[in-house]
Symmetry: C2
């Protein structure tokens, strides 16, 4: 059990990683009245938070020293590993009762390693990746998928409520990351369907907007179709969520699946197609840029069709 | 232009093919007060309609003789071809001004052939496949995807309204079938994602119902996930929509894509996986029985997991 009561004015929050998602999420905690100490690789990305009253610390260890609950929101598992398990990192300097929450999308096995390292010092680790993207982060409408000790996860409810709309404890350490992988498997394979369907509609000479009126409300409907379909048709491939981050997530899911003895042909195909998106130079576009690479397979320049 | 005004008491309807879908759809027309003449390969399947006041005819040509607007709702393109274009079939015996509406899921190129054959006799052909399944047919909530002459399609509005909730003219002859293919491409590839995601959740030791709470309302959500996910978890693989009919639809879409010079790797994978579902003996189960075959790939007996 934690001995920290979570409340503004009582709980000191630490935040490591102030990219697009992290800055919005930490901003909500500040707005709610929490004292927040932040650090980031690029200080300029933390300026908006500092302007709102956050304190700056030079290193993750310094953030941790000043905080009861420390969040990490980083791009890649490698960074999470370094910050959490590296020399002088969060686990090595953890105090009894302290809570570490990793909201990055990362490896389930790494989440369990961090949990073990924290337990060894009487501290607690929670993995809590999110879905909902930059818009969900900005509007505090994220879905937060949580793994960790039940009482600890429960105690953090005021913080989940501040950042998200849906928050469900999925099990012990690693279960949050596993659930995020389920989420990404759904999106990856579903996006192939969306792109191939729109490509077919184009080549068959249909009016794709009108086709969406017929198919989107029914059994073929999905969030991806309704939200990305119109952007694909408009030729707007701004991220949303970066292709290169999605490739990272699919890699984690496929590695875990291999470890679990699980064959996932659809996800494997999705990874290959997204590697093509990246190879063609579109790694910094949104995930729906899959359309560009799929169109190339059939000799179609989607943006000049 | 048609010289038929569409109204109960004025318009004589013909209906060919009284399977689960066709019987419900023709039933709505009867309930609305239309005179309906029916035929079916198996007369017993028409009994419920005959009891409601439909007239029986022994052949499609006899149905056509007694009708102003003739609907076909058949299982396979081969049957549609025989009924519509065969010797003594609908096109060969068509009268000027008569309207033929094929609501089967069939080949876009066949729809165009039927259109040409009907035009040659001053009659009209419309292709109008549907989505929504047996439940949508029963509740008159189908999405009807329509190809054909604009004025003719418009004139049939009272009939579309009687059978469906959404009805959109997608273009000239064949456009309805093409739109249905778009619908099936979305469902086929999306179903791979649903099944692989639930398989991953299972192997990772998650509580799959709880996982759905996290992922279904967000960017990973889809009609298939919300509707088939719970049935897959409950081990209920009753159709819905038969695997073997879905394989027929995917075959049509892939043939058309080949003709259009279009590479669709996701759909090709889906067809292969569904051929496995059929090979394993589950062709009469619902489309979500893909789960059973995918689980087998990893040595999982899903129904006894």
């Amino acid at each position: 059990m934690t001995n920290v009561e979570i409340a503004p004015g009582k709980t000191r929050i630490g935040w490591i990683g102030t990219g697009v998602m992290g800055a919005s999420m930490a901003g909500h905690l500040l707005s709610r009245g929490y004292a927040v100490t932040v650090t980031s690789r690029t200080r300029s990305k933390a300026e908006s938070l500092l302007a709102k009253g956050a304190s700056w610390a030079d290193t993750p260890a310094d953030v941790s020293k000043a905080s009861d609950v420390v969040f990490t929101m980083l791009g890649f598992p490698k960074e999470v590993r370094t910050v959490a398990l590296g020399e002088g990192g969060l686990a090595a300097t953890a105090r009894a009762g302290q809570i570490f929450v990793d909201m990055s999308t990362s490896e389930p096995s790494l989440a369990r390693d961090i949990d073990a390292a924290c337990r060894a010092r009487g501290a607690h680790a929670v993995d809590a990746p999110v879905s909902g993207g930059d818009v969900g982060a900005r509007e505090a409408r994220l879905s937060i998928m949580i793994g960790g000790d039940a009482a600890i996860v429960e105690s953090l409810t005021p913080l989940w409520e501040t950042m998200g709309k849906t928050f469900v404890r999925q099990g012990d350490a690693g279960a949050g990351q596993h659930t995020k992988m389920v989420n990404q498997i759904l999106i990856a394979t579903g996006m192939i369907g969306v792109c191939e369907a729109l490509l077919y509609a184009h080549r068959a000479g249909l009016d794709a907007e009108r086709v969406l009126q017929s198919v989107a409300p029914g059994a073929a409907g999905s969030w991806s179709l309704s939200n990305y379909g119109p952007r694909i048709l408009a030729g707007n491939f701004d991220p949303g969520f970066y292709v290169e981050h999605f490739i990272k997530d699919m890699g984690i899911a496929l590695d875990e699946a291999k470890r679990l003895g699980l064959s996932l042909p659809g996800l494997a195909l999705a990874e290959q197609l997204y590697l093509s998106v990246q190879a063609l130079g579109w790694g910094k576009k949104g995930t729906h840029a899959l359309q560009l690479a799929l169109a190339r397979l059939s000799g179609i320049d989607w943006e000049r069709r």
